[in-house]
């Protein structure tokens, strides 16, 4: 019995090792294929403009390798303005969304009544409507209000875009993870309803708040349509507009394009590295409730 087991073991192990290796190779190939445009973007960013148009290769050779594109892009005033605009718009969007959504989500989670039921239903229903239909009256509204060519116009659109999802998401969070007896104790201690929300519910649901902050930030940072329609002035353009302005003209500077694309993708990559679980939480929750 022991002997038989002993004899059978090594070949099994070898077979397992072989299939493991195959699995790793397959996974790496798949991940490489999925990320090819991004890999190519980063690799091209480190190639000089001359070597990009003289030889075709994915990665730069040691002699081609250069930081030149990044230095040029970073010294461009247009790029810096675009990065500043994107940052202002995304940070304002995220801050406003967090404040508005965390309050509304708390109200939906803790209070009972028709108003709250209708509000919750409205959130879900409006999600299914095409944004194109809203775009035309919104355009008209902004023209009338003198908000054309202002960052505020874009911020408002971005808040409206991520608000429903963020409310639903943080609503679920309050339901699941804020202990009701802790709130009741605070209430008994004379905290008041708003005080309870501020001192108990908010701190306990920090992971949820982080998730909606990241979600609304990235959604705004990556957005193109509203920015393109409402920001006609070059001094107001965002990074997505800056990056997409490269290909319209003849003689595309691919190195500069890749470098600015890479820089524009840095926040997303940073969140992926340091806050992956929040991103995935946001995606899975969106699928379940959306």
């Amino acid at each position: 019995m022991y002997y038989a087991k002993h004899v059978k073991w090594p070949p099994f192990r070898a077979r397992k090792a072989a299939s493991m290796t195959l699995m790793y190779i397959l996974t790496i190939v798949v991940v490489f294929a999925v990320d090819l445009p991004i890999i190519s973007m980063i690799a091209t960013a480190f190639k000089s403009e001359e070597s990009i148009t003289s030889s075709v290769s994915l990665f730069p050779t040691a002699s081609e390798f250069t930081f030149e594109n990044f230095l040029t892009v970073l010294s461009e005033p247009e790029f810096r303005t675009a990065m500043w605009n994107s940052a202002v718009i995304a940070i304002c969007t995220a801050a406003a969304t967090v404040v508005i959504a965390s309050m509304a989500g708390y109200a939906l989670s803790r209070f009972r009544g028709n108003v709250f039921v209708i509000f919750g239903a409205l959130l879900i229903i409006t999600q299914a409507f095409p944004s194109m239909l809203r775009l035309i009256p919104m355009f008209r509204m902004y023209v009338d209000a003198g908000l054309m060519n202002t960052r505020l116009a874009v911020v408002l659109c971005h808040i409206a875009q991520s608000l429903a999802f963020c409310i639903m998401m943080i609503h679920g969070f309050y339901d699941a993870s804020v202990p009701k007896d802790m709130e009741e104790a605070a209430m008994v201690d004379g905290c008041g309803q708003f005080g309870t929300y501020l001192r108990i519910a908010l701190p306990v649901s920090m992971p949820g708040i982080t998730t909606i902050a990241i979600y609304s930030f990235l959604d705004s940072w990556n957005e193109y349509m509203y920015a393109n329609l409402f920001l006609r002035d070059d001094a107001l353009q965002t990074l997505t507009l800056y990056v997409s302005s490269f290909t319209g003209k003849s003689g595309v500077e691919w190195g500069m394009l890749s470098a600015s694309s890479t820089l524009a993708s840095l926040p997303a990559m940073a969140f992926l590295l340091f806050a992956q679980k929040y991103l995935i939480q946001g995606m899975t929750d969106g699928a379940v409730k959306g």
Binding site: M20, M23, Y24, T27, V30, V31, V34, L36, P37, I38, S40, M41, I52, T53, V56, V99, I100, M103, A104, A107, G113, V115, F119, L122, A128, F129, P130, S131, M132, R134, I136, P137, M138, F139, R140, M141, V143, L156, I159, A160, L163, I167, L218, T240, L241, V243, S244, S265, A268, F271, L272, L273, Q276, L279, I280, M283, T284, A287, V288, G290
Partner: protein
């Protein structure tokens, strides 16, 4: 006494809803209703002309004299359906691969997320670079494998442009599919696999009779979500081809945008959007009914 306390407690709830309620009323509900109203008018150049009520004229035009509309609607359907199915099938395969026990699974999972969290503006530009006819790596590989003689102009060739944008659209939804299916796969109880293996089921049988039925609900849901998302999406096509060459890759969103902001036919563009809304609401209802049955 209790009634009074209840009222008092709800008042704080209403107050907390005010900011969100204002935003939604002003930026979602009002434009939605105004858009529906515009669709019955000949609303055009901003602020210059008197707006006339035209009844159903826009809707009639859409299905009669507008020769582009039906083909745009058709392509939007094909794009949304094919790219979603493609993303689902490939996503399921990748999710099965990433569900296996191996070191660095978390890292691989993060890496396949990249296309989802990167701006479509960035993605579109870098796809153009990959597909470039002179310096693009994809043409280079195809030529060195002697699969083609001349470089292909993926986004300019009438035979190639539609499949190309469908594949890129699928690529964009792929990470979503992978992550959601992966989460569902990890929820399948391990003992079901074990008892099936004990009963002598082979890998295909386990997949067919245990894995697939357990992820059926989630699969259906993410296919629906991605279908609606692709059906609605503007940025991908607008940034890759702008609807071109010619009108060849116009989708409803791009077509509506051009109608509104290039041709200044705001009333007509609103009517097109209302039809899209009706289609989407029908889908949402279908989705709800089917998910209730599960």
């Amino acid at each position: 006494m209790r009634q009074k306390r209840h009222l008092k407690s709800n008042r704080m709830g209403y107050i907390m809803l005010i900011p969100a309620g204002l935003m939604i009323a002003l930026l979602i509900l009002y434009p939605l209703i105004a858009g529906i109203c515009y669709s019955f008018t000949d609303y055009s150049v901003l602020g210059k002309k008197k707006v006339n009520f035209v009844g159903l004229k826009n809707y009639i035009e859409m299905f009669t004299t507008d020769t582009d509309y039906l083909s745009v609607l058709g392509f939007t359907f094909v794009l949304a359906l094919v790219s979603t199915m493609l993303a689902y099938v490939v996503g399921l395969m990748i999710a099965l691969l990433l569900n296996m026990r191996m070191k660095g699974r978390g890292l691989f999972r993060s890496l396949v997320l990249l296309p989802w969290i990167i701006s479509m503006a960035v993605a579109a530009q870098n796809w153009k670079w990959l597909l470039n006819d002179r310096y693009g790596i994809i043409n280079h590989i195809l030529m060195s494998l002697h699969l083609i003689e001349q470089p292909l102009i993926f986004l300019g060739d009438l035979d190639l442009v539609r499949p190309t944008v469908i594949v890129i659209s699928a690529w964009k939804s792929l990470p979503f599919m992978i992550i959601i299916i992966l989460a569902a796969l990890q929820g399948v109880p391990q003992d079901q696999y074990e008892s099936a293996a004990m009963d002598g089921a082979n890998k295909w049988q386990i997949f067919r009779y245990i894995t697939l039925p357990s992820i059926k609900g989630v699969s259906f849901m993410c296919i629906m979500l991605m279908f609606i998302w692709s059906f609605n999406s503007y940025e991908g096509i607008a940034l890759l081809t702008g609807g071109g060459p010619g009108k060849f890759t116009n989708t409803l969103a791009v077509y509506t945008y051009k109608m509104a902001f290039h041709s200044n036919r705001l009333g007509y563009a609103s009517a097109i959007s209302v039809v899209v809304m009706i289609i989407l609401v029908a889908f949402a209802l279908l989705r709800q009914r089917l998910s209730r049955e599960d």
